[in-house]
Structure formats: C-alpha cells, structure tokens
Amino acid sequence: MEVLLFGLIAEKAGVDRLTVDASTMQELRNALADRIPDLGGLSHAIAVDRCIVHDNRPLTGSEEIAVLPPFAGG
C-alpha cells in the first residue's frame, strides 16, 4: 500500500511517499519504523482514509494511509 508522508516525517524519510506491505495497523507501524529513521522519537499520527486512528485494525491495502507530524496551521 502507498503511504503519504508530510512535513518533518517526509524530510526524515527523504521521500513524500512510500510503498509498504501491512495487513494490520501494527504491521504498518513496524514497516514504517523500518523505513523512516528515528520515527519512534518523532511525534506523529497515522491517518487511515483521512481519519487519525489509534487502534490495531486490519487493513485491506486499499486504504489511503498518511503519516502526520504535529499540526502547525494558523
């Protein structure tokens, strides 16, 4: 599945999108940690289909996934 990266997260990864394989949120988090340096030390949230999720839900692979650093609007 394709993962969109933004702001500081994209800067650390060196790209603004990644392709990973994951069938649950936990697998997704593990895959992202392998691909994005220092992700564990960076404040971030994961959005699935444009809503932030915190659980370990299953993923079909068709979702729109995004990794979001802290917001700075205004």
């Binding site: 702001g7 444009r50 802290p70 205004g74």
Partner: protein, 151 residues
C-alpha cells in the same frame, strides 16, 4: 442551519500570503447582506520568533489537502450547528511561502448580532489549529529551518 451554507466542500487554501486588499474586498461583498449586523475577523500573521539566536524569516506551509478539507467541512458544519444565526463563514489559509509580517490565515464570520460571530470565530480558529493537517517549515535567517508545532 440551511444546507446551502454548509454542504459544499470549499477549498480554503491560497498560494502564498493573504493580501489585505482581498480581505477588504471580502468585507465589501457583504454590503448587500443587510441582515448582517456584525462581522468578526481573525487574521493570523507570520511572527518572526527568535529560535537559537536566528529569526524566523518565513514559513513554508504544506498540507494534507484532502484530509484538511474534510476536517474543515466538519468544523464548518459544527459552527453552523452551534451558532445557527450565523449568516456566513469564510476561511482561508496559506500554502507555500509566507514572509514574516505577512498574513497566512483568515477566519471571517458574519451574523445579525456580535456574540454569534465572535464566539464562532474563536471556536473555528481553535478547531482549525488543532485538527487540520497543515505543516509549517520555519525558515531561519541563518538558512536553517525548524518545524512549527501548534501548542
């Protein structure tokens, strides 16, 4: 709440800073709405904070546009639900480069009376800052940068 006020997904984003002349024009456009008795406008301006001895000279804004517009639509609906007398609500936020001293954010509410407009603007500004996935790269005078984070 009338659906025509809320149901459309409006694009709030503008490239670069918000021109004060645009805001003046926006005010002028309300002259025909003689049921309005109060306008409340919040304007955000890029502040030249000093970070580790360097000044912020600009902020480069990016956004997760689709999610931001979905969240904004929900916030707009929430505002009209809480302040149903509100006549209209206009929101604009910059993307790209905005220099220190330039405007980057506008929330403009109009209502028959001042309390609804005032309360709605304060609520909408706080919700946008907390919920919209907008990111700000603060460019410093020594050519380094830091990433802005809303408290």
């Amino acid at each position: 709440m009338s659906s025509e006020k809320t149901h459309k997904v409006k694009d709030i984003f503008v490239e670069g800073s918000i021109d004060p002349a645009f805001i003046a024009t926006s005010i002028t456009k309300h002259a025909t709405r003689t049921d309005i008795g109060a306008h409340e406008i919040f304007l955000g301006q890029v502040r030249s904070d000093i970070i580790d001895g360097s000044n912020v000279v600009a902020i480069e804004y990016t956004a997760y546009r689709d999610m931001a517009l979905e969240r904004m639509t929900a916030i707009r609906e929430g505002a009209f639900a809480q302040w149903p007398s509100m006549t209209c609500l206009h929101v604009h936020h910059s993307l790209g480069n905005v220099q220190a001293g330039e405007l980057c954010f506008m929330v403009f509410a109009s209502a028959p009376h001042r309390v609804a407009a005032r309360e709605a603007v304060a609520w909408v500004v706080d919700r946008i800052k907390a919920e919209l996935p907008i990111f700000g790269r603060e460019v410093l005078s020594d050519a380094t940068h830091v990433w802005k984070t809303n408290a």
